[in-house]
Structures are given as C-alpha cells and as structure tokens.
C-alpha cells in the first residue's frame, strides 16, 4: 500500500499522504515527519471533519462528498473518499488542490483495484457459480408442484 502512496508523496508541494479508514484509523502513509502521534491526530481530525461535513449536508439529501479541500494560510488539506477508505493529502502553501487531482484519482483507483483484485478469482481459473444454499435450509417445493396435472376432468391430479 505504501508503494502506491509513495509516488504521490514525491510530487512537488505534497507534504504528507495518508490512507485512512472512514472512522479515522490510519491504514498507510508516505512522506511526513515520521511523528506517529501527529499522523494519528491528523487521521482522526480529517475523518472527523469529513463526517461533520457529511452530517451537515445530509438534511439536503446529498450523499457524502467525494472530494473535499480546505485551503488555509499554512497549507491545504485534500480528502478524497472512496467506498473503502479515504485518501488524505497535505499540501504546502504554494500548491493548489488541482495539482494533485489526477494523481489522487489514480492512487485511489489503484487501491480500489487492489482491493477488488484480492477478492476476485485467480487468473487461469474459471469462475464457478455460487454453491446452492444449505439443503436443510432450502425450502421444499410446494406439494402441488410435484403432482402431474389431472388426465381427465373430474379426476384428481397425479394419476
């Protein structure tokens, strides 16, 4: 995962890159000062901010935003949300969030591909149809369905 994040962290202006879960648990990071406490707090604060925003827009029946940027005096925080995780990028003062838009999209796409690839069938094997439900739990067919139709009017079915 770090190998996926590292090219992004090497871009000019990028100070720190982190992949976090939706509830703020750090998954992987690249760049930065190596202070784990600061990274943990950044992850928690970023996730909490994103959750606050999602809650703020919920009354408008909007879904949670996919990309959020906070441009401030001492840097810019960019968050990009996917189904499974959230990519957090901290930029320096001179950088613009647009500079990292495409690279961030690329990194998240790779992460999602890796995640889906792990669940997928290994190369060379044919995907099998899913197994049938447990026999004991399978509903027996209705009694009428097993009977052949009545041969003549007035006779009972099954003869």
């Amino acid at each position: 995962m770090i190998a996926v994040l590292e090219p992004l962290s090497r871009l000019p202006g990028v100070e720190f890159v982190m992949l976090i879960s939706h509830d703020g648990v750090p998954i992987a990071h690249a760049g930065g000062t190596g202070e784990s406490e600061r990274e943990m707090s950044l992850a928690a604060l970023a996730a909490s901010w994103l959750n606050d925003i999602s809650m703020a827009v919920a009354p408008l029946t909007w879904s949670a935003p996919e990309r959020v940027c906070l441009r401030a005096a001492r840097g810019t925080l960019v968050l990009h949300r996917s189904d499974s995780a959230c990519l957090v990028v901290l930029l320096g003062r001179e950088s613009s969030p647009e500079d990292v838009r495409l690279p961030m999209d690329g990194v998240l796409a790779r992460i999602e591909r890796a995640r889906h690839g792990r669940d997928a069938v290994p190369r060379g094997q044919v995907a099998e149809t899913p197994a049938a439900p447990i026999p004991s739990r399978a509903e027996p067919p209705a009694a009428e369905e097993q009977l052949s139709p009545a041969p003549h009017r007035g006779q009972p079915p099954g003869h």
């Binding site: 950044l42 604060l45 970023a46 909490s48 901010w49 606050d52 925003i53 809650m55 703020a56 827009v57 009354p59 408008l60 909007w62 879904s63 949670a64 935003p65 996919e66 990309r67 959020v68 940027c69 906070l70 441009r71 401030a72 005096a73 001492r74 840097g75 810019t76 925080l77 969030p97």
Partner: protein, 362 residues
C-alpha cells in the same frame, strides 16, 4: 538589468508620468507603478501606489500591486540579510531577519531561522524570538496545543531574560487576548515590579483587576478560544454594522448563470440566499453555516491557520465556500467552479455586507 534596458526604461517611465499627469486614473497610476517596478525601482513604485490609493482608495488592482511591490521589497531585504548571515553570522542580523519574517507573517520561515540560530548559539534573544513566533502562530491559529507551546516558550525565555520586560509583555498579551484576566493581572503586577510607576501599566492593572472576578483559568480560556475561534477582544460576528456595501447584486449575478444552483452570503447567524426558495433555502444556508464552523475548527486544530476556501465535490455538484474574517460567500454549481467564479466568490468574502436585507434570510 543592463544599461540598454535602463536607458529604454527612462523613456517608458517618462511617457507613463505624462499620461498620469494628463489623466490621473487608477490605470495610469498602475501603469507608472508597473514601469517603476520593471525598472527595479520598487520604492518609487510603492510611492506611486500609495499616491494612487489616496486618490482611489477602493481600487483593488492598485492595492494588489502595492502589496506585491511591498512583498518584493521585503523579499529583497530578506535575501540581503541571508547573504550577510552566510558570510558573517551575528546576533543583530539574526534578530533583524527574524523580526522581518515575523512582521510579514512568514512564521514557518521565522521559526526555521530561530531554530538555526539556537542550534548555533543559545542566545537568550533567540528564545524570546521563538516565543514571539509561537505566540503569533497561536493568535493566528487559535489551537490549544499552539497556545500551550507559546506559553512554554514564553516561560523559557523568561528564565533566560529574567529582568527583561519583553517576555512578560508577550505573556500579558497572550493572557489578555484569550481572556484569562486574573493571570493577566498577575503578569501586569510583575511588570509593575520591573517598571514601577509606569502609568500605562498601572491603568492596565486596574482594568484587569476589575475583570479578574470569575475570569477563566488559562487552560479554560484556551479551550474556549479553540471552540469558538474568537479571541476575547474580538466582537461577536454580526455585532459590527456593515459599511453599506451590499452582496445582493453579486449574488444575483452569480445565481443567474446557467449551472449555478445557489449563491449564498453568510454573516453570523443570517444568510442571503439566491436560487433555492423556502425551506430548501433555509436548509442550504444552515448546511453552509455548519460546514463553515466545522471547517474553521478543523483548520485551527490541524494547525493550518486561517481558512481561505472550502470546496466539496460530489454527486450534488460543487459547493465552494470562501470564508472571510466574519462572513463568507458560497456557491453551489452543477459543474466545476471555474476561475472567474472563484475570484468573484473570494471577493465576496470579507465584504462585511449587511445580510439582514434580501430575498431570504435565515
């Protein structure tokens, strides 16, 4: 700049001067200032901008150019100091460099320089300057951690400079700005012990004594500043009356564009909304206010300082918010924001317009 360029610039400056004399407009002032700047005469460019701003105080282009020339001048000064420091490092140059950087709000660079100075020699002056840097950072960011760091640095510099009033003054400023009046009064008493009979200090001591009853502790005051984002001496948003400029024409102009769903101007607890009507307008305004408050708090806690722009993108489109000191402009579009609209939005922030009159208020 070579001799030929300098020679040619004389002619251009002369023509710009004549044009200004014939018709003094913001553009002729700007043209002359630009010619001076291109000729490397930044001081004269600044004087021209100041003269132009005296005649046309609201002109944004002149104001921006004045800031740019001022910044260029300051950067040249910083470069000169750095060159001298590389050749012959000494305390006076370090101090001047750090003070220039602090005054120009380049706190990260100032901190780097002070740290480099401290690594070289443990000059007590460097400790004091570090305290000033951290105090300036706290007053800008308002996070509790920065406040604690600033206070620790001030205490450290007090240990190194026990008979100096400057660290005490910094401590007094910190306590007074956060509203820890009781602790501020104690610091004022310490300062009076250093400078007995100082009239300004005596007056300040009496004022602080009057406010000391029931004042919060330093930790509590810092917590309150972090929560609200306002220092004790700052007024409630909305308490200050607008200077009369209205945000409505700009909002209407923005809302008339085809892919704009809503244009908002938020100030305190009131909002002007163009686009959605009724309950939707109220909900949109509340959402923007909530995002704004949350993002300002997040910026402070993350140590990023004052927030300039917040942008949300999703299936709903793009919501961009440009916060000012007390107000904010917001725009909801179906597609991307675009440069022109972004500039218009940034212009709306800090307008301090009256939000109590308009199509909708919440």
């Amino acid at each position: 700049m070579n001799f030929l360029d300098r020679l040619l610039s004389f002619g251009r400056i002369r023509r710009a001067r004549r044009a200004l004399a014939a018709e003094p407009t913001p553009s002729t002032y700007l043209a002359l200032a630009q010619q001076y700047a291109m000729a490397g005469r930044t001081l004269e460019a600044q004087h021209t901008c100041v003269e132009g701003l005296t005649a046309f105080p609201d002109n944004a282009q002149l104001s921006r150019f004045h800031q740019r020339t001022h910044r260029a001048e300051r950067e040249a000064h910083v470069q000169r100091l750095r060159r001298e420091l590389a050749q012959a490092p000494r305390a006076r140059l370090w101090r001047e460099l750090c003070e220039v950087l602090i005054d120009s709000d380049e706190l990260s660079k100032a901190e780097e320089e002070v740290t480099a100075w401290l690594e070289r020699d443990h000059d007590p002056e460097a400790y004091y300057l570090l305290a000033r840097v951290l105090l300036a950072r706290y007053l800008a960011d308002r996070g509790r951690d920065q406040g604690r760091a600033a206070l620790a640095a001030i205490e450290h510099s007090l240990e190194r400079l026990p008979r100096d009033a400057r660290p005490l003054r910094a401590k007094l400023e910190l306590f007074s700005r956060i509203g820890a009046w009781k602790d501020a009064r104690d610091v004022a008493a310490q300062m009076l012990a250093l400078e007995p009979g100082a009239l300004e200090l005596e007056g300040r001591y009496r004022t602080l004594s009057a406010r000391a009853d029931g004042a919060p502790s330093v930790e509590r005051a810092m917590h309150e500043v972090e929560r609200s984002g306002r220092l004790a001496d700052e007024r409630e948003p909305g308490a200050e009356r607008a200077p009369g400029r209205s945000a409505l024409p700009l909002l209407r102009e923005l809302a008339a564009q085809p892919d704009v769903q809503a244009a908002l101007y938020v100030r305190g607890s009131t909002a002007l909304v163009q686009g959605p009507k009724g309950a939707t307008a109220e909900r949109t305004a509340r959402a923007v206010q909530s995002i704004l408050a949350g993002s300002r708090a997040a910026g402070r806690r993350l140590g990023l300082g004052q927030v300039f722009q917040i942008q949300l993108e999703g299936s709903f489109g793009t919501l961009s918010i440009a916060p000012g000191e007390q107000d904010a402009g917001a725009l909801l579009c179906s597609g991307p924001l675009g440069r022109a609209r972004e500039e218009a939005l940034l212009g709306m922030a800090g307008l301090n317009a009256d939000a109590s009159q308009g199509d909708h208020q919440s």
